[in-house]
Amino acid sequence: MFAVVGTVPDEDFPLVSGKVTMDGDKICIQGHSVPVNRGTPALLAAAIKTCETLNSNLPFGCLVGDIGKGAGSRRLYATLVEQLTSFDSGPGDSQLKTDKRSETGTDLNVFVFHYLQPDVDWHNRILMAMEKMRKRPVLIADAGFMYAAKMSGFAAEYDLFTPDAGELAFLADEAAPHPFYTRGFVLHEENKIPELIARAYEHENAARCLLVKGKTDYVVDEKQIHATVDTPLEDAMEAMGGTGDTLVGIVSALIGTGMSVIKAAALAAKVNRWAGHYARPTPATQVIEIIEQIPRAFSRVLREEK
């Protein structure tokens, strides 16, 4: 069972946790619905489509409204720190624990951290709380939380980061606290990706595994490039918001089934590319059109895998 921790772009959206479902082009959690545009809702929608296709457990969401002011993220961080150990079926009767048990009936063993306000102090408190769990969960970070994980110096504690080429350059630049400050000499041309991967590991700014999203997707295991995926190629996807989020949603759902991180990363890269291909995208295509193609993409990729 996997949990997705992130934000929705509505300042008034309350802090909620529970099983996430989909209704048309919206995700639904605890009686609230959120349109799927990009960000964490897109991640969750892609994860749900993956779970439905594989007939596996739906994601458990921990969501809060945040439009970049950080207050929602900090409230979510504080609640998580207070209640994290309850995810591991320890003593206590917190709301999150109650929600989790009533809705999933199983322990959460994968945590995905996504569009959250980067804050090193809160990141470290979350990580410490995770370390106190009886069984350490698989840890996946993308977007703002990945920025904080890198800046904290604890990147190596994570099982998977999912950077795009620009974010990989940020991981490779040991001095940059945010992609906005990546130094000019750390270029992120496609042909430099292996070099950037090596540099990110050299300074211990990479997770155990990486899934680098781009014209070619790179699956990296413990510093070694394990696989590359470059077909089909849809150029327009570079301009589309949310295509990285769908990839993280697919890989998270696969890891949630118990699949190894590396196998899940390679499979997710293929599925996301085929879903994009089937959507026949232009630079104006919206991400929900790709999400709708995930079941079809899975059919093709799983058939080929056999």
């Binding site: 934000t7 772009p9 990009r38 980067p118 906005f180 990546t182 301009a239 630079p283 104006a284």
Partner: protein, 164 residues
């Protein structure tokens, strides 16, 4: 010339203060903070130290006082200042740092916003996508983070390229 940095409570205030000071004609730069005061999503404003009091008075009039003023003793991080443009035929994409903004060239409608990882990116996309370049709210007005600031740079660049 000796320089100092103005440290604000959050990035939104930095973005507003930058606008106020630039409109007032001050020579200032938005920069990255030194390591000892970084918390995660930070910007600071670099100012000439000698002008500190005048600058603070300008900000005070707008209710935008920084939480502290610190002399610059080591090099500050420079924001990424390179733009990349990509022509998709009917569409044009401009990238600034980790943010990409794409418009339909003929109608000048913003069709997509991608990249970034801070929580205002989905919010900005919701507010801007589907609007014409000259009718959209600017990221400077409604953004709050470094990703929002980077999107502002892409927005200014695409306006420079496409609007008369």
């Amino acid at each position: 010339m000796e320089r100092a940095i103005l440290v604000f409570d959050n990035t939104s205030e930095v973005i507003r203060a930058e606008g106020v000071l630039k409109s007032a004609g001050w020579s200032i730069r938005v920069m990255g903070p030194p390591p000892e005061i970084r918390s995660g999503c930070d910007l600071v404003i670099e100012i000439p130290l000698m002008e500190r009091l005048n600058i603070l008075r300008t900000l005070e009039r707008k209710g935008l006082l920084p939480i502290e003023t610190v002399p610059v003793v080591s090099p500050l991080l420079q924001p990424v200042d390179l733009f990349q443009s990509k022509d998709f035929g009917d569409y044009l994409m401009v990238r600034a740092a980790n943010m990409k903004l794409t418009i339909h060239k003929k109608s000048l409608v913003i069709v997509n916003i991608s990249g970034g990882g801070c929580p205002d990116v989905p919010y900005l996309a919701e507010a801007m996508v589907g609007k014409k370049l000259d009718e959209s709210p600017s990221p400077r007005e409604i953004g709050h983070t470094l990703c929002g600031y980077a999107l502002q740079l892409a927005y200014e660049e695409i306006k420079r390229q496409c609007l008369p």
